[in-house]
Symmetry: C2
Subunit: 366 residues, 2 copies
């Protein structure tokens, strides 16, 4: 059987791997240099680790933002980069990265996205975030069928006994959505199982969950999950340890496990780039990896003095954008300009030109 | 005659030279490491070049701040560093910097401030901003007596014929204040001289100035200043070129010149630090100069890849703070922590501790 012909890849200036704060700001710095970017992320939304792991927790060390949450930071960066119209490919992971004969890079993802770019920026943080697998006995053989790490389409759980295991925002949001469902697609019953009666979700989310519990729409069970039992490959019940130490049984058709996310470096480790303790080695002039044209910014890189701080990644993304110019626009001179004074940058940013008789600052960029 | 005994210098962990955006953020990063800082600046206010030269102009490339003015940036940074209670010494320039026998640095200013610190951070931008001197014939001999570059106390101009030369915010603010003065200290008359009938000051300021002119409290004169004439060392009149090309005469007792600010590197150049084209050479691990314990951050430093951007200075200030730890707290281990999760940093920042059962993000700083 002949191989199915693949469509031609989308051509772009740059591919950014990772849509966390640093990957988003990479779009901005490339945009100021008139380079278009596509952004790939394993998560279903932008914002990276701060949004995936602690969207509501305050961050205090973004310069000139005395306090902001991870979600607010992502929102602010999305507003800032909007003029450059980045193209996002979310919920997919880079599966293949290879230099082509003409020097460009072919980037392919697990969702079949194919991109051809002149420079690649790896802003993958600690790796692609993936659901942490359930370790309980009996779990391994049921993954993907009766044990899921995501919320499936409603029809998939119609009439079933569903247990949601977890105590964070994601687990509670799933339990609330399922317990509120009505009509043909509603599950038969929904139970939220958590190791103890204390939740790390946002207080408003906990309150909504408790209201559903008091109304009888959602059952609560507390105690560590002990095991999953199956008959003929079908999940029938799970066991957990109750407050009195006795084993409790819970009948279940589908278990939705929300045990947090953990990062995996994934294929980045296989691209032959120089690494040091799971981080990509870069220089501090261009933040380029050992492979010309491939840059690494943010938590995934390492160099003398490195601190894993978002604000440092912003600087790295800036110098990486300039460092990539010879690959992005070979032979073209691009002059360094300030957003405060450059009419060219104002045009790119879509802001009104300044008054013609307003002189530029005396010594800006002298 | 014996030398007047000098008071003992104030002791502090760090001295920061320059209160621009990067100098202000240096306070923050030192504060997170529990180091106290004194900040010195030649300007009478904090905020550095963006505030001194273009306080109202939008800046577009501060990460996660899609747009802010120089004044807004300074205000935001002042709010962010407030918990660390920096001590400011404004309107004065460092005149002397010398290492003492015990390894610390004695820093003295033109205003007589004396500080003793274990580390020095030079965040002096393009240098200390000073009023641009008037180049007109006759000006040099009258500086400081009849030609001033600042607004003196009101009594100094009582009953005088005053001319303010300039067309920016500062010149108009001076003219407005003097033309609005009443009582014993009021000048006899106030004239605003500018090269042409177009002003770069904020529109509201121009409107207030024009209202005073229409009310007869302020005279306006337009044309390039040609020279200053004096009798027995006393300024008597100045000449300027009118619209018709003819020389015009303006009787005057005191001329206040506001011709903008220009930076001077000043004594930084005399401290024996390695320089390259007027910039201080630093490494990219600690942003340390050629002198151990003296760091340079922001526009004043240079290294391969350097871009003179505020956001890069934020990164440099961060690594410099960590780089200075061996000088600030010899022999003490200080562990890297995140503002999102560290109870110690929350205490320093004066924010409420997080709930005790709120687990830290799975992979933060792993």
């Amino acid at each position: 059987m002949p191989a199915r012909p693949q469509p031609a890849p989308l051509e772009t200036d740059a591919v950014i791997i990772g849509a966390g704060p640093v990957g988003l700001f990479q779009v901005f710095e490339l945009g100021l240099l008139e380079a278009r970017a596509h952004v790939i992320d394993a998560l279903p939304q932008v914002g990276g680790q701060p949004v995936a792991l602690y969207p509501g927790k305050p961050i205090y060390d973004i310069p000139a933002l005395a306090v902001c949450t991870g979600q607010e930071l992502a929102d602010a960066l999305m507003r800032q980069i909007a003029p450059f119209e980045p193209v996002f490919h979310l919920g997919q992971q880079v599966s293949h990265l290879a230099r082509q004969a003409d020097g460009r890079f072919l980037v392919e993802t697990t969702a079949g996205t194919r991109l051809m770019a002149r420079a690649v920026f790896i802003a993958a943080g600690v790796g692609a975030f993936q659901p942490r697998p359930l370790k309980a006995p009996g779990a391994a053989g049921l993954e993907g069928t009766h044990l899921l790490y995501h919320l499936p389409p409603p029809a998939r759980l119609a009439g079933q006994r569903v247990v949601v295991a977890g105590g964070g925002d994601q687990a509670l949001e799933w339990a609330i959505r399922l317990a509120s469902a009505t009509g043909h697609d509603a599950p038969a019953c929904v139970t939220l199982l958590h190791r103890r009666d204390a939740f790390t979700a946002a207080p408003e989310t906990v309150a909504r969950m408790r209201a559903l519990s008091e109304a009888g729409s959602l059952r609560l069970a507390f105690g560590p999950l002990a095991g999953l039992e199956a008959e003929h490959g079908r999940l029938t019940r799970l066991t957990y340890t109750g407050a009195d130490g006795a084993t409790q049984f819970l009948p279940v058709d589908t278990l939705l496990a929300s045990q947090g996310m953990s990062p995996r470096l994934g294929p980045v480790a296989d691209w032959g780039l120089a690494m040091e303790r799971k981080q990509l080695v870069v220089d501090t002039e261009k933040f380029q990896t050992s492979e010309p044209g491939i840059f690494a910014v943010g938590d995934i890189n390492t160099y003398p003095g490195k601190k894993k701080l978002i604000l440092c990644g912003f600087h790295e993304a800036t110098l990486a954008a300039y460092g990539a110019l010879p690959y992005l626009f070979p032979g073209k001179d691009v002059f360094f300009q300030y957003t405060t004074t450059s009419p060219r940058l104002h045009r790119l940013l879509g802001v009104a030109p300044e008054a013609a008789d307003d002189p530029p600052p005396a010594s800006d960029g002298a």
